[in-house]
């Protein structure tokens, strides 16, 4: 320890002010932690922590309000976009975000997300696509890939009887009300940097009153996938990115003009 010279030490990595000083309940290797940190970093950098109101959903991130250091509410399963609508309509000057899993947003909450986007609701949605229902123990989600084994598609998702995956970013990008809809991945440093930039863009969109923004994050669920974190990352690269291509699906012309 006496090797360290405290006078010249520079702090290059610290906890963002927008995260509380507690350890999370997320499983080792889970990408919820990365998503939380990126969002918190951007909020710090934009200095909007005191304007933030978050809406947690039902899923592994149900306790997000314990980890984000700003005002939060917690929605019923799938209803976060409706709750966010209620908050934003009475407090239009605040920055309102939802944080939702794929079961939450793309299954039980499909109507709420589609109509929030359709209304051009001036909110930001962070959508964690980990191809399963994490919190309830790894059942099939609308995003589960064809042939993927889950606890409720034990022989692999059979599209004949269990349908096809939903590509949420593509779907929401088709709605005239959406302004900024992109897909990013949390698998490697380059993609994580791109994800962070997209978060910045999404909040800029909201601050400028340009309407609905949504970022889909390709994420991993090592515990329920039954893989190590690094094997999960490889699985994401080999299976998820081909099915869920990364990219910008909707960038409204007014959004395209934003320079960050």
């Amino acid at each position: 320890m006496d090797m360290i010279d405290n006078d010249t030490e520079t702090l290059v990595y610290s906890r963002p002010n927008s995260l509380t000083d507690v350890s999370t309940h997320y499983c080792p290797g889970c990408t919820h932690g990365i998503a939380h940190r990126l969002i918190a970093e951007v909020i710090d950098e934009m200095n909007i922590r005191e304007k933030m109101i978050g809406v947690a959903s039902v899923g592994c991130s149900v306790f997000a309000y314990n980890y984000f250091n700003f005002d939060f509410v917690q929605a019923p399963h799938g209803r976060a976009p409706a709750m966010a609508t209620g908050v934003k309509r009475v407090l239009p000057e605040k920055v309102v975000m939802t944080y939702q899993g794929d079961g939450d947003m793309a299954s039980i909450g499909m109507a709420e997300i589609v109509h929030a986007a359709t209304r051009g609701e001036n909110i930001t949605v962070f959508f964690i696509n980990n191809t399963n229902y994490g919190m309830t123990g790894g059942q099939m989600a609308p995003t589960t890939l064809p042939g993927q084994k889950t606890t409720s598609s034990q022989n692999g998702r059979d599209v004949e009887t269990q349908g096809y995956p939903i590509r949420a970013a593509e779907l929401l990008s088709q709605l005239d009300g959406s302004s900024y809809v992109v897909r990013r991945s949390l698998n490697d440093p380059k993609n994580i940097r791109l994800a962070k930039k997209a978060i910045r863009m999404a909040f800029e969109v909201q601050l400028r009153g340009l309407g609905f923004s949504m970022i889909e994050f390709l994420s991993i669920c090592p515990t329920n996938w039954g893989m190590s974190a690094s094997a999960s990352m490889t699985w994401l690269e080999n299976n998820m990115i081909p099915y869920y291509p990364l990219g910008d699906y909707k960038v409204h012309p007014a959004v395209a003009e934003i320079k960050i």
Partner: protein
């Protein structure tokens, strides 16, 4: 202020506006729709929030979000739509937030019809959503009362951090009556210390209904229950008509109460010593008032537009000690005052009994009638 001829649904909407409602979220359903339509033009005109939601599910969750900010917020619907809202109502109750909901009841179950009924009594008065909670329920019997109860509903909701339901039916929603609207209240400028408004210069706040630790949930539920005890102690409301010297009493609420009043007046003209006890708060239920009144009575008649959902509460209130009969039309059929009058006459004629169940005798009479 001048009296105006207004449709129930619209009068209620304007009364809510004047009570300072900051946000309304709803979905069309007959016989409530005029309330939503009225709000769709009135709220934006005043710079307040209005959203026609994609469903009642979304509407109630918009209410949930807006209620978290400490503003006055409401929704309205009719029976099937109210069923759809129940998950959200339970969350709102579990988060201890104020909310006002207007239920303009229609015939059911299922899609039923759009005629007036009181079949949501059990759902609204005895719970509705899952879990352990109580809602305050106000039952107006005419348009003026419906108007007057809107400001009261917001006040009670805020005072007790409670879901407050104004329980009407299609008749009250659709009928036009003269009414006097209250003056426009100023909008709230002060918000409670739990309101989520952005953590500017203060500790962050969060609102949630999740409580994974059963002991903590029990503490929450007990806190809510103690608050409910205050509601029961302070907020029971009912109206009595001709009860001073009554030997018989009708118990009825809402439209059934109004129809019963006509019948009671005619019976009085015939010399029958009958009165009317009309519960206004269905929850908390005027149990003690009914019990005290019943001790002086020879017989009671419960009149409803449901198959005796309130009857069970009345019988429990009388501790099953007073001969009671039941008169109802259901499924969207509205009883005529004459039908109620006949039931009063039959009650007086006897035989008066505490044996058997009044619903069974009524059901038998209904079978004989068809």
């Amino acid at each position: 202020m001048a009296r105006e001829l207004m449709k129930g649904n619209e009068a209620v909407a304007e009364a809510a506006v004047r009570a300072g409602v900051a946000a309304y979220f709803g979905y069309p359903i007959t016989p409530q729709t005029e309330l939503l339509e009225y709000m769709s033009r009135r709220m934006p005109e005043l710079g307040r929030a209005f959203v026609q939601a994609e469903s009642e599910l979304a509407a109630v969750n918009m209410v949930y979000g807006a209620a978290c900010t400490g503003q006055r917020v409401m929704s309205s619907s009719s029976s099937p739509g109210v069923s759809l809202m129940m998950e959200g109502v339970s969350y709102i109750a579990g988060t201890e937030l104020p909310m006002v909901l207007v239920d303009v009841m229609r015939g059911g179950p299922g899609l039923g019809n759009i005629a007036p009924a009181q079949g949501d009594y059990n759902q609204i008065v005895h719970g509705g959503g899952h879990g352990d909670y109580h809602s305050i329920v106000l039952a107006p019997a005419n348009v003026q009362e419906a108007v007057d109860f809107m400001a009261l509903a917001f006040d009670l909701a805020e005072k007790y951090r409670s879901v407050t339901v104004v329980l009407m039916d299609g008749m009250l929603g659709q009928m036009m009556e003269p009414c006097e609207l209250p003056a426009m209240l100023p909008m709230k400028t002060e918000f409670p210390d739990w309101a989520v408004t952005g953590a500017k210069g203060r500790e962050r706040r969060f609102l949630t209904s999740i409580n994974l630790n059963p002991t903590q949930q029990e503490i929450t539920n007990l806190r809510m229950l103690n608050r409910w005890a205050q509601v029961e102690a302070n907020e029971i409301r009912y109206r009595e008509y001709f009860m001073e010297d009554a030997k018989y009493a009708v118990v009825a609420y809402g439209s059934a109460g109004r129809i019963s009043l006509s019948a009671v007046r005619t019976a009085r003209a015939e010399g029958i010593k009958v009165g009317l006890l009309r519960p206004i708060t269905l929850s908390p239920f005027p149990r003690e008032a009914i019990y005290q009144a019943s001790r002086k009575l020879d017989g009671m008649l419960v009149v409803e537009m449901s198959s005796g959902q309130m009857l069970d509460d009345v019988l429990a209130a009388t501790r099953f000690t007073v001969p009671t009969e039941f008169c109802a039309r259901i499924g969207g059929v509205v009883p005529y005052p004459d039908e109620v009058l006949d039931s009063i006459r039959n009650l007086v004629k006897g035989p008066l009994t505490t044996e058997g169940h009044p619903r069974d005798r009524w059901l038998k009479r209904m079978a004989e009638r068809n």
